[in-house]
Symmetry: C2
Subunit: 184 residues, 2 copies
């Protein structure tokens, strides 16, 4: 039996569609609808016209519990679990109130991921898996395995890591990785 | 400049004196005082005469927030931080309600450890540091670096890992490690 390779997957911006959540919170608060295209290339912390908004939302109780799940994430992760050992690795430690919310969110949307495979941390540099799928350069930079940049508005101008456009594209990447493993 | 080696340190049974906490909870509940010597060699889950007690305590809100800090742990960890990069790595994910309590507990007793260096996980096998100080064999077994068994009642009959008797002994071990590094 072959040992499964390991994949660490980030939450916000990867499993969870935090961009949509920011924009819908902003609309609820101000009545102003901002289009996803309008914030492409902006930094996460100041992607909204009210530059206090993002940080305020991140500290609002319930914010992390109610993020919509990213398109196709559930199906693809469940499928990948047949061939890889999957860990969810979130830098949740910065926002202590997010800890329980994130744990409950995972239980709701990814009940097939065991608590044994969930990691809430600060610096991801001590995570030892084969792959890390993340939207933040700082996490990919400190990671020692193969980093994969999950596409989102704030990272479009970064080109140092292989980019996964969405979960369908992530599926394609790992199918190719498996084929490569089988034929080499 | 030399790169600091990294040490992961467990919480319950290592930084936090959970044995004392079990015994004092049991005394408050029943009026029966059990001596530390009476439980040497017993398994953690059933170290008390009421074998439902430990699991019940672990699920009691406030239990993790109020564990007494282990003797000398603060002084020694603070001292070691000058020479090593210290991470706290706790298998907190099994008890979701413990997450915030453990984060707050660390903030109170170990404010000199950054949130960036705190990890709450399930399986410790994906933690990539040079050392792990832990009281549980299963965590040391899955760890890929050098495991150090922190002495406590339930692990006295395990002999596969080098044993640290207490925090003074941990200090001795790492002073020797530093000397070894300097003279080799």
């Amino acid at each position: 039996m072959m040992i499964k390779k390991t994949i660490s997957i980030d939450m916000d911006g990867v499993l969870a569609d935090i961009q949509r959540h920011y924009l819908s919170h902003y609309f609820e608060e101000t009545g102003i609808r901002i289009n996803e295209n309008d914030i492409v290339g902006l930094k996460e912390a100041d992607c909204l016209p009210d530059q206090t908004a993002v940080l305020r939302y991140l500290h609002t109780p319930g914010f992390f519990r109610s993020i919509p799940v990213a398109q196709d994430a559930q199906d693809v992760v469940k499928e990948l679990q047949n061939y890889y050992e999957i860990f969810v690795v979130s830098a949740a430690m910065e926002f202590p109130n997010s800890l329980l919310e994130k744990r409950e969110w995972l239980q709701e949307y990814f009940p097939f991921i065991s608590w044994k495979n969930i990691v809430f941390c600060g610096n991801k540099g001590i995570i030892d898996t084969d792959f890390l799928i993340d939207d933040h350069l700082k996490n990919l930079d400190s990671f020692s395995g193969k980093g994969l940049m999950f596409n989102t508005f704030h990272n479009v101008n970064e080109h140092r890591f292989e980019r996964l456009k969405n979960w369908t594209d992530a599926h394609r990447f790992f199918v190719a990785d498996l084929q490569n493993k089988m034929f080499n």
